[in-house]
C-alpha cells in the first residue's frame, strides 16, 4: 500500500511526483469486479506528457500546464499567483465568494470529519494528497502567510509551514482538479468549512489571474460557447439542422408529428438543453419535444448565440465567464418575452442559472427559472401526459446529480415521477442529498486528455460503479435489462465512460439514460419501445 506519509509542506519539495497511484491501493469494487484482473489496469501517464507538462503531483494530468522554460519564467508565474492570491481576498475582485471563502480559511479545526465523505479519497485507498483537507490546508497556509500576515516565525508557529515556489503552484493547480466540487465533504463539516469552495476558488485564481484552466473548460468550453453559440461547436444553422433530424427520428419512433418550435416570441417556456444532448443523446431533446407537444405546452427553443446550449462551465472555474454566459441566457429569455426558462437535463446548468446567477441577474434579466424535473412532474401528475407504467417493467435506479440535488434541493419531483412510471424503481445507497458524485462533476466528464479518462474511471467514478452494482446486486444477470436514470448530461457523459470502461452493458445489461426517455417509453399516446437498449 502507498501509505507513505505526505506532509502539507511537502507540496513545495521538488520531486518527480508527490504521490503515486497504484491499482492495488484502490478500494475494491463489489463482485464481479472484486479481483485485480477483473478491472482494467490504470494507464500510465506517457513520458512525453511528463516531459512537456507539469506532472509532478500524481500519475495523471488535468490542467496540463506547459513547463516553464527557465527560472525566470517560473518566478514570473509565482509572482502572478501571488498577485491573484491577494486579489482573491479583496471585495472588489471577489465579492462573489469572499465571505464564504474567508470563513472557510479561518475556521477549520482540522478534525478530518470531512475526509471519509470524499469518494475520491475513499476510492484512491485514502491517498493523503486526495484528502479534501490537504488541498485546503496548503491554500490556507499560503493565504495566512502571504495575505493575512507578513510571515515570520510566529506566523509559522501559529499557521503551519509552507513554501511558495513554482512546484507548489503547479501541484496546487493540478490538485484543484482532483476534486469534483460535489461538496459532500462540506455537508459533514460540523463548523461549516467548505473544501469544495476552496477548490473552486483556487481554480478561479488560476484562471482569472494566470489564464490557467483546462482547455476543455475554457478554450473549447466557455470561450467557444460565447463565440459560436455552443461548447459543442454547433452554430445556429447546425443546431437547427440537428433538431430537425431529431424531430424526424422521434416522429418516426413515436408515431406523432413532432416539430420543435424555434424563437417563438411570447411562449410560456424557453427550453434550454445542454447542447451535448443534441449530439450525443439526441433522443433526450426528442423526448422533451414529444412530452411538451403531447401536453400542449407553449414552448420554444432559441437559436440565438448560447440560447440553445445551457452549459455554463464558468461555474466551475471562472466568475467572469460564468456571468457572461448567464447574462446571455437571460437576455435571450427577455428578448423572447417568455414567462420562464426551463432547464433540460443538465445539473450544472440548473445550478448555474437558477441558484448562482440569482445574485447576478437584476431587473428585466431576472427571468424566472425552473427545473425541468418540476415541469415534468407537473405535466404527469396533472394527467396532461398519460402513462402506462407496465411499459417500464424493468429494474430502474436513479443517479442524483449533485448540482440538482445537494446544491439546489430538487430531490423529490424526479422521484415522484419514477414512482409513478417505473414499478421496479429502487434507490441507490446513499441517495438524495447524500448521494455520491458520478465522478464527472466540475467538468471532469468532458476531460479525457492524457490518461485523465482512466483516472476518472478508476478513482473519481469508482464509488458510483460500486453504488450501481449494489443497487442491482440481485439482478446482475445479463438477461435482465437494467436502467440507471441520470437526469444530467455531464453525469451521463461520465456514466457512458464508466459503463464502457467496466463493460457494464456487455456483462450485466446495465444501461444509463435520462428521465424523459423513460417517460416517453411509457406514454400511452406513443408507439411502445422508445428506449433503445443498446450502449450509446
Amino acid at each position: 500500500m502507498t501509505k507513505k506519509r505526505i506532509a502539507v509542506k511537502d507540496i513545495a519539495k521538488p520531486s518527480a511526483k508527490l504521490t503515486e497511484l497504484r491499482k492495488e491501493d484502490f478500494k475494491p469494487l463489489p463482485a464481479p469486479f472484486d479481483t485485480p484482473e477483473s478491472t482494467p489496469d490504470f494507464a500510465p501517464l506517457g513520458d512525453k506528457a511528463r516531459e512537456q507538462y507539469e506532472a509532478s503531483l500524481d500519475d495523471t494530468l488535468a490542467v496540463s500546464i506547459p513547463k516553464p522554460k527557465n527560472k525566470q519564467e517560473e518566478d514570473e508565474l509565482v509572482a502572478k499567483f501571488l498577485s491573484g492570491l491577494q486579489k482573491l481576498f479583496t471585495k472588489e475582485n471577489n465579492w462573489t465568494f469572499l465571505q464564504p471563502l474567508l470563513l472557510s480559511m479561518d475556521h477549520c479545526a482540522t478534525c478530518h470529519t470531512c475526509s471519509d465523505a470524499c469518494h475520491i479519497y475513499e476510492a484512491s485507498g485514502r491517498n493523503p494528497v486526495y484528502r479534501p483537507g490537504y488541498r485546503s490546508e496548503v491554500f490556507r497556509r499560503l493565504y495566512k502567510k502571504y495575505v493575512k500576515s507578513k510571515g515570520g516565525l510566529l506566523q509559522a508557529w501559529r499557521d503551519g509551514e509552507i513554501e511558495l515556489n513554482w512546484t507548489t503552484v503547479a501541484r496546487l493547480a493540478e490538485l484543484a482538479y482532483r476534486c469534483n466540487l460535489c461538496r459532500r465533504c462540506a455537508q459533514t463539516c460540523p463548523i461549516g468549512v467548505d473544501n469544495g469552495l476552496i477548490g473552486h476558488e483556487i481554480r478561479k485564481l488560476l484562471s482569472q489571474e494566470m489564464g490557467i484552466a483546462p482547455k476543455e473548460l475554457h478554450e473549447s468550453g466557455s470561450v467557444l460557447q460565447l463565440k459560436v453559440g455552443s461548447s459543442t461547436g454547433m452554430n445556429d444553422t447546425v443546431v437547427k439542422d440537428n433538431i430537425e433530424f431529431i424531430d424526424e427520428e422521434v416522429s418516426e419512433k413515436t408515431g406523432l408529428e413532432i416539430h420543435t418550435p424555434w424563437d417563438k416570441e411570447g411562449a410560456d417556456i424557453l427550453l434550454v438543453h445542454n447542447a451535448g444532448e443534441i449530439l450525443s443523446w439526441p433522443m433526450n431533446p426528442g423526448a422533451f419535444a414529444v412530452i411538451f407537444e403531447s401536453a400542449g405546452v407553449s414552448w420554444t427553443m432559441s437559436s440565438d448565440l448560447a440560447g440553445y446550449d445551457s452549459v455554463n462551465y464558468g461555474v466551475w472555474y471562472d466568475d467572469a465567464q460564468f456571468a457572461r454566459v448567464a447574462v446571455k441566457h437571460a437576455e435571450i429569455a427577455k428578448k423572447l418575452k417568455v414567462k420562464k426558462i426551463v432547464l433540460g437535463e443538465c445539473g450544472h446548468a440548473h445550478k448555474a442559472l437558477t441558484v448562482i446567477a440569482d445574485r447576478v441577474l437584476t431587473g428585466e434579466l431576472n427571468v424566472p427559472r425552473e427545473s425541468s424535473m418540476v415541469t415534468l412532474e407537473n405535466l404527469i401528475m396533472s394527467g396532461r401526459i398519460k402513462v402506462d407504467p407496465d411499459r417500464n417493467d424493468f429494474p430502474v435506479t436513479l443517479h442524483d446529480p449533485c448540482n440538482l440535488v445537494r446544491l439546489m434541493g430538487v430531490v423529490e419531483p424526479q422521484r415522484r415521477i419514477l414512482r409513478r412510471i417505473a414499478p421496479r424503481f429502487r434507490e441507490m445507497e446513499p441517495h438524495g442529498v447524500h448521494n455520491y458524485c458520478c465522478g464527472g462533476g466540475s467538468g471532469f466528464a468532458i476531460m479525457s486528455g492524457h490518461n485523465f479518462g482512466d483516472w476518472r474511471a478508476q478513482v473519481a467514478g469508482r464509488k458510483k460503479v460500486e453504488q450501481i452494482l449494489n443497487a442491482f446486486q440481485d439482478e446482475l444477470d445479463p438477461s435482465i435489462k437494467k436502467y440507471v436514470c441520470a437526469p444530467c448530461s455531464n453525469c451521463k457523459g461520465q456514466l457512458r465512460d464508466l459503463f464502457n470502461y467496466y463493460d457494464l452493458w456487455e456483462k450485466h445489461s446495465i444501461l444509463y439514460d435520462g428521465l424523459v426517455e423513460l417517460i416517453v417509453n411509457c406514454m400511452t399516446n406513443v408507439e411502445p419501445g422508445f428506449i433503445e437498449w443498446e450502449m450509446h
Binding site: 506519509r5 506532509a7 502539507v8 502572478k80 498577485s83 486579489k87 472588489e92 465579492w95 462573489t96 465568494f97 469572499l98 465571505q99 464564504p100 474567508l102 470563513l103 475556521h107 477549520c108 482540522t110 478534525c111 478530518h112 470529519t113 470531512c114 471519509d116 493523503p128 508557529w157 499557521d159 503551519g160 463539516c189 460540523p190 463548523i191 461549516g192 468549512v193 467548505d194 489571474e209 466557455s222 470561450v223 467572469a320 457572461r324 448567464a326 420562464k340 441558484v355 448562482i356 440569482d358 445574485r359 447576478v360 441577474l361 431587473g363 424566472p368 425552473e370 427545473s371 407537473n378 445537494r406 446544491l407 434541493g409 430538487v410 430531490v411 423529490e412 419531483p413 438524495g432 442529498v433
Partner: protein, 314 residues
C-alpha cells in the same frame, strides 16, 4: 494573591472577549453579499428539510409564498451544537474525544452562570451554603457538581485530543504548534482549577466570593485569594480572552457559516434588498489580469459580464 489584581485581570479579559467577538462578527457581517452557495438540506425549508428539498421543487415557485420554519433550524442546531451530531455521524472515533471537551466547556459556561447568580446572591447578603435555605442550598450543591463535571470532562477531552494530535500521524501532520499550545492551555487551566478546588476550595465557595466581588465591582474588600484559586482565575480569564482571537472563534462564526452560507437560500426578487446589493456589487471595479478579463481597476463587473471574450486581441 491580591484579589484586586485578579479583578483587574478578569475585567480586562472579559472586555477583550466581548470586543473581539463584536469586532470579528461585525467584520464578517459587513462583507459584501456573495453569490448563493447553499447546501442542502436547508433546515428552515418547511416540510422539505427532512429529505433536503427546497422551494425550487415548486412549479412557478416565484409566485408562491415561501414556507420557512425556525423550529426546523432549532431541530438541527441544538443537537449539532450540544451533542456535536455531525462528528458523531461522520467521525465517531473523534467524537469520543471532542465531545467531552466541548460538552465540558458548555458545562463550564453553566458554572459561570451559576457562579454569577451565586455572586449576586452573596453580594446581596444572601447565604449560599450547605446550611442555607432551599435555594441557597441548591445553588451551593449545584455549583460544585457542575464545576467538577465541567472541569473533569474538559480535562478528559483535552487530554484525549492532545494524545490524538500527538500520536496519530494523520492528525499530527495537520496540527500546528499553536494548536498544541491551545490544547495545553486548556489542559493547564482545567488541571489547575481541579487542583485548586481539590485543595483550598473544594465547594467553590472561594470562587463564588470572587464572583460576588466581580459582580459588585467591590475592590475595597478585595481580600487575598489562595494562590491556586488565583492561578485558576488568571488562566481562565486569559483563556476567555484568547479563544475569540483564534480559529476557535468558530463557536460564534458558525452562526454565519450556517445562516449566511449553507442555509442562505433567499431568492433575489424584483425591487428587493438583494437586487439593490447585487447592483452595488456589479459596480465594483475588477483588476483580474487574465487575457479574457483584462481588468484595469476601472472596468466594473457589470461591464465584464456584458462584454465579449477578447483574449485573442491581446
Amino acid at each position: 494573591m491580591p484579589g484586586s489584581i485578579l479583578l483587574v485581570i478578569a475585567y480586562a479579559c472579559v472586555v477583550v472577549f466581548v470586543a473581539a467577538i463584536a469586532h470579528r462578527a461585525l467584520k464578517i457581517a459587513r462583507l459584501p453579499m456573495h453569490l448563493r452557495w447553499e447546501l442542502y438540506p436547508v433546515a428552515h425549508e418547511k416540510g422539505r428539510s427532512r429529505y433536503g428539498g427546497s422551494y425550487l421543487e415548486e412549479s412557478d415557485w416565484w409566485t408562491k409564498p415561501r414556507s420557512m420554519s425556525l423550529l426546523g433550524e432549532l431541530k438541527v442546531m441544538i443537537p449539532e451544537i450540544l451533542l456535536l451530531e455531525g462528528v458523531w455521524e461522520h467521525n465517531r472515533p473523534h467524537w469520543f474525544r471532542t465531545f467531552p471537551f466541548h460538552f465540558g466547556l458548555y458545562v463550564l459556561a453553566g458554572l459561570i452562570t451559576i457562579l454569577l447568580v451565586g455572586g449576586v446572591a452573596v453580594g446581596a447578603g444572601a447565604s449560599v451554603s450547605a446550611d442555607a435555605t432551599l435555594v441557597g442550598k441548591g445553588l451551593y450543591h449545584l455549583t460544585y457538581v457542575v464545576g467538577y463535571l465541567g472541569l473533569g470532562l474538559g480535562l478528559l477531552g483535552t487530554l484525549a485530543l492532545l494524545a490524538r494530535r500527538t500520536f496519530d500521524p494523520e492528525y499530527r501532520e495537520y496540527t500546528k504548534r499553536a494548536d498544541f499550545f491551545n490544547l495545553a492551555f486548556f489542559a493547564a487551566t482545567f488541571a489547575v482549577a481541579l487542583l485548586a478546588h481539590g485543595g483550598a476550595d473544594p465547594d467553590f465557595a472561594g470562587l463564588r466570593a470572587f464572583f460576588a466581588r466581580l459582580v459588585t465591582f467591590n475592590f475595597s474588600s478585595a481580600a487575598a485569594v489562595p494562590w491556586a484559586t488565583g492561578l485558576e482565575i488568571v488562566l481562565a480569564s486569559l483563556l476567555l480572552a484568547y479563544v475569540p482571537l483564534t480559529h476557535m472563534s468558530h463557536f460564534f462564526t458558525k452562526w454565519f457559516m450556517y445562516h449566511d452560507i449553507r442555509w442562505s437560500d433567499e431568492p433575489n426578487l424584483a425591487g428587493g434588498k438583494i437586487e439593490r446589493q447585487v447592483g452595488t456589487a456589479l459596480n465594483y471595479p475588477v483588476s483580474w489580469s487574465a487575457a479574457h478579463i483584462r481588468g484595469d481597476g476601472k472596468k466594473t463587473w457589470a461591464e465584464v459580464a456584458t462584454s465579449d471574450v477578447e483574449e485573442d486581441k491581446q
